[in-house]
Subunit: 235 residues, 2 copies
Amino acid sequence: MTELPPLREFPLFARLEEAALQRMTTESKVESYHDGETIFRQGDLASATILVVKGFVKLLRVSTSGDETVVSIKSDGASITGAPCSTGGVYYVSAEAVGPTTTLKIPASRFLRLMADEPTLAIAALDEARRTIAELVGEIESLKSHSAEQRLARFLLALCPPEAERRRFRLPYDKRLIAARLGVTQETLSRAFARLRDVGIRTETRDVFVESAAKLRAQFRDVVGQPPSQNESGG
Amino acid sequence: MTELPPLREFPLFARLEEAALQRMTTESKVESYHDGETIFRQGDLASATILVVKGFVKLLRVSTSGDETVVSIKSDGASITGAPCSTGGVYYVSAEAVGPTTTLKIPASRFLRLMADEPTLAIAALDEARRTIAELVGEIESLKSHSAEQRLARFLLALCPPEAERRRFRLPYDKRLIAARLGVTQETLSRAFARLRDVGIRTETRDVFVESAAKLRAQFRDVVGQPPSQNESGG
DNA sequence: CGCCGACTTGAGCAATCTCAATCATGGTGG
DNA sequence: CCACCATGATTGAGATTGCTCAAGTCGGCG
């Protein structure tokens, strides 16, 4: 168990009053996981709200026949469980650490009590849910109407700061996981990377070099949604 | 403008106190749309929370090049916008009536005020968001790992009450829309229906006859999630 | 130095899409 | 009452995309 990180840095708590923040701190605890470790399983009693402090958490659905589908990957500051709506619920996905990861765990009962006292917290939780929904909707749009190459371009552009032009960076996780995230096989991902060489994308194993983000964006303008504003709502 | 429907019948308001329900009633109004009519557009100011009273509402994303992707279809009792988290947000999908449809429209500002006063409402909104997320997650799982035929089977089984064995019913909307919902073309849907004849599914235009729901369920057991319980949470 | 895991590449195959033709069906106007 | 049309649905043929299986490469690490 490590020291608590500054709660203010979580979007979920950014606007919460100091007193409420203090109440949140009590009973919350930081936990560490190493690569591949399970944080919770689909079907487990949803006894806590869990946030990513540092690292990546992969959310997946497991079918009765045992195969796993990556549904989302959460990173620093995001909630992986969402806020609790009642005690007695269960998680409907499994969560697994990708690389060394630390999380913040808040008992569901306490979170619920705090929301009852502090509508601000409930509304912040609602806002977090809204962001999750927007992300999932984008994912569905992408799966339904974009090719593997288009989805990869979208993924890479999301890693390029909007102003940056040339850009070199390291992929956040390995290509196997990126493939699962995009809903294609490793081989298809590799070929998609190869085809993107024509638009100025080079890769060296895990490092990516984008020759011109603007060019990439232009090439795939139909694919890149409006940069998700902080104020989107509804849906 | 029609008379207000009983608000209690919306999951969102089921557990709300009578007084709060009264406050909700003021300023809310029922609106009617005919087939194909637009309810709001992606990018519009999210000035209201809108629920489906009766009918179907198709939610879609429109790309810069103009093509539309169906993201979800909402029916009786569901919220199509989600609860507001702030004034000034915008809708990130468009909404369009499928067949004659009536909606309930509640100004965002009023809804926000009510949530601030009534944490119960905020938590109910959170629960609604959680259901939406669960639905979208199921959709993503389906798109990523099931074939067109499997997705269709899943769709049909969702229309069969769990106890029913033989079952005859009318599709909720036309096959073009079902195809869009499942993320395939009309032609692929038609062929998927044809292949399901082997497992005892007949169709006559818009009527479906399921010879044995149990058999269908058995055949596609990997595809049919646990019947979504009222208590699921997290993710 | 050689193994191992991650990645890449190739070849053939399966699923789905596109384009096009055909077919039913319900409504309309003569 | 019937011919005609518009719409939705089905079916076929060929092109494409992505998958599977298999082999080969590359880089790091014991």
